[in-house]
């Protein structure tokens, strides 16, 4: 129960911020009250639904918002001022079929970049799902003050931005040990190699390596090496990662509603961006098992916020 408390607090805080944003956007209502927004979900998965619900709550009631829970039934002939594509699948579909400005949300940065490359002329922007490297590096520095080397296992398909990651880490005095896993290589062997040379393993969005089927064995291997895994979401922490920094659908929805309201005024989409709000989750049991001295998630979040403020 104690572990759940911060979650609940965050949720409340997020809701409060949403209301504040809505109040702030109120002045824009008179200018573009009739903005027609279509929200297309990749699927009716719970996080997408949460996002859509929060977004509708956050947008002014004068704005006409239609939510389509199945991306397959998207009809390009209908006139919209803005389309919010939720998830990779919906965003891909919309960008392929329509010239309406697109705000893609809840997709990895790499997927958005691929879209941008394929449809360069289209008007679109995004709120990524991944966290900026700086933020990840802050967390690593906070939870493992003595760590020297951060290992990353990646496959070719992940197109890992090793340069930026390495820079973000080195700025905080952390070494970087990337290990490429070629197709056909045994995951275990690669993992063994990277764990042998690292103090912390940083998970990246790479479905070839981190999947529901693999995560248990990966975690077991990290435990055997005594190396903590920094996860990508609450689910990773639940499964046994030491900690994770991530943004909830509510947080992304709040950010998206701000962008939509701004679009109503300017009819301009901002540059693609990382989620501004984020959460931190910690698995204290894993910390105890690995003998890692661990602060609470709230404390970590506060320190990370203050570290960002310093930058």
């Amino acid at each position: 129960m104690l572990l759940l408390r911060p979650q609940w607090l965050f949720k409340r805080l997020a809701q409060l911020s949403i209301w504040l944003c809505a109040l702030g956007a109120g002045s824009a209502f008179a200018i573009a009250p009739n903005l027609q927004v279509l929200v297309v979900l990749s699927s009716n998965a719970a996080p997408y639904q949460t996002f859509a619900n929060t977004l509708i709550q956050n947008l002014p009631s004068t704005m006409r918002v239609v939510v389509q829970t199945q991306s397959d039934s998207y009809d390009a002939t209908q006139k919209n001022d803005l389309i919010v594509g939720v998830g990779v699948k919906a965003s891909q579909l919309i960008v392929a079929k329509s010239n309406t400005p697109l705000l893609a949300v809840m997709l990895p940065k790499r997927s958005y970049e691929a879209l941008l490359k394929d449809y360069s002329g289209k008007e679109m922007s995004a709120i990524y799902m991944d966290q900026p490297w700086e933020r990840q590096a802050d967390l690593i520095r906070l939870v493992s003050p003595n760590a020297n080397k951060v290992g990353v296992l990646y496959s070719v398909s992940s197109h890992l931005d090793t340069a930026n990651l390495s820079r973000a880490l080195s700025r905080r005095g952390l070494g970087f040990y990337p290990q490429l896993l070629n197709a056909g290589d045994a995951l275990f062997v690669g993992l063994d190699t990277v764990l042998d040379s690292s103090d912390v393993l940083l998970a990246i969005p790479d479905s070839d390596i981190y999947s529901s089927n693999n995560i248990r064995n990966i975690l077991l291997t990290t435990y055997r090496h005594g190396v903590p895994l920094i996860g990508l979401s609450q689910a990773y922490v639940n499964a046994g990662a030491l900690c994770a920094v991530f943004s909830t659908p509510e947080q992304i929805a709040a950010q998206a509603s701000t962008l939509v309201s701004r679009f109503a005024q300017t009819h301009q989409l901002p540059a693609p961006q990382y989620p501004s709000a984020f959460s931190v989750a910690v698995n204290q049991e894993v910390a105890r098992t690995l003998s890692v001295p661990m602060q609470s998630a709230d404390m970590l979040k506060m320190q990370m916020d203050s570290a960002r403020g310093e930058r």
Binding site: S42, S43, P47, Y210, S212, N213
Partner: protein, 434 residues
């Protein structure tokens, strides 16, 4: 063709044993089938469970290619009962561990091979996609030995067979007891009936039974036998009486109760034989009543019959017990006197003395009491004499007829001599007459 028959005990035994045998055997088979299936299922279930556990516990070993760990895990599984072999393969189908129990002593028996995939344990990471398909990262195969199951089955088979056999033996004994209670009385009754059929009506059945019908049957048979026996006795008495009567009719004169001609001939033959053997003379007397016919004519045959009866009595009183008085019919009587002396003259004298005595007796007056017209008793006085012819014989090579003829001739001689006298046959006199 004679139909084949069986004892009631055999019938009873078959009627009881055959259905019971079928029942017992089918029950035993059902039981065995059920238990065998359950044993097979048990082995299969345990195998499934062991394989499942092995698949779970060897997941990380297969993933990490940790052969030592897998070997240890497999050894642990091999310690479990009935597990004969353990094989673990990785995703590529490469055999990582393949061990089997050794020192079996016997040739490797066929095993129940149970395979289970080793699936990666799924831990939900994100909820954006549908639940991913399970990923198979290897497989385990365990061989479950049938040996213990087979031993148990064999033991079950034996116990079922012995139990069935014991049951049947018990039933057999009970059937034997029951059939004895039914079949033995019936056998007794049957043999009694057979004996009665052969004529021994004195047979009685004494059976100790609690079966109503059999008791009734035995009682009935005994009663019937008793009834038959008494009826036969009555009949026998009647037959004996009738036979006696017939005999009497054949050999005795009904009126005087004297031997008739046939009996006399028989006794004469006997006397001839005795006389020939002993050398003693014997004699035949022919007695004819004089003046008999007028009595018949005057007073009727009933009156004549009374006279004949009285005459017979008188003749009888004049001879010895060994002598024979016979009636030849009408008023003719014949007396056979045997065992006279060996001397011819003495014998003739003795016979003559008897003849004269008879003559004298018969000549005495008769008082005959007769009924006239059915009720009135009338006394009739009558007197009649007799003529007697005598033939004495001894080893004369004479036939009976010749002897009787001689006596007859002598009797006529006496009649012609004036009646009321006895006349001795003499061959010389006959010659003279001729």
């Amino acid at each position: 063709m004679m139909r084949k028959t069986y004892h009631i005990s055999s019938y009873l035994a078959w009627l009881t044993l055959v259905p019971l045998l079928a029942l017992a055997v089918s029950m035993a088979l059902f039981f065995l089938h059920d238990r065998f299936r359950s044993l097979d299922n048990n082995l299969q279930m345990r195998g499934d469970l062991i394989a499942h556990q092995l698949a779970n516990s060897s997941e990380y070993g297969v993933y990490a290619n940790n052969l030592v760990f897998l070997q240890n895990t497999a050894q642990g599984v091999l310690q479990q009962a009935d597990v004969d072999s353990v094989t673990i393969l990785n995703e590529q189908g490469v055999v990582l561990v393949d061990i089997s129990r050794k020192n079996r002593g016997q040739a490797q028996q066929e095993n129940l091979a149970i395979s289970r995939p080793i699936n990666a344990t799924q831990v939900a990471l994100d909820e954006f996609e549908n639940k991913p398909l399970p990923q198979q990262i290897g497989a385990v195969t365990i061989g479950m030995s049938w040996a213990h199951t087979h031993t148990t089955k064999l033991r079950l088979l034996w116990s079922a067979a012995i139990a069935t056999l014991l049951f049947l033996m018990l039933v057999l004994y009970l059937v034997y007891l029951t059939s004895r209670r039914i079949a033995m009385p019936i056998a007794q009754l049957s043999s009694a009936i057979a004996d009665m059929g052969e004529g021994s009506l004195s047979v009685r059945v004494a059976i100790d039974t609690r079966i109503n019908e059999l008791a009734t049957l035995a009682q009935g048979i005994n009663n019937m036998a008793a009834q038959l026996q008494s009826e036969r006795m009555v009949l026998q008495q009647r037959i004996d009486a009738a036979t006696l009567q017939l005999k009497s009719l054949a050999f005795y004169d009904t009126l005087t109760q004297l031997p008739n001609r046939r009996m006399l001939e028989d006794r004469l033959a006997h006397a001839i034989a005795v006389s020939n053997r002993s050398g003693q003379y014997a004699a035949i007397m022919f007695i004819d009543l004089d003046n008999f016919k007028p009595l018949n004519d005057m007073h009727g045959h009933a009156c004549g019959d009374l006279l004949l009866v009285e005459a017979a009595r008188r003749i009888g009183s004049c001879v010895r017990m060994v002598d024979t008085v016979a009636r030849f019919g009408g008023d003719e009587f014949v007396v056979l006197i045997s065992q006279l002396t060996q001397d011819a003259i003495v014998a003739q004298n003795e016979v003559m003395a008897v003849a004269n005595k008879i003559c004298h007796e018969l000549a005495l007056p008769y008082t005959l009491s007769t009924k006239v017209q059915g009720h009135t008793q009338v006394l009739i006085a009558h007197q009649c004499t007799s003529s007697i012819g005598i033939a004495v014989f001894l080893d004369d090579n004479l036939s009976q007829d010749e002897i009787l003829m001689r006596a007859d001739k002598a009797m006529y001689q006496a009649k012609s001599n004036g009646r009321n006298q006895a006349c001795l046959f003499s061959a010389d006199a006959e010659k003279n007459q001729d």
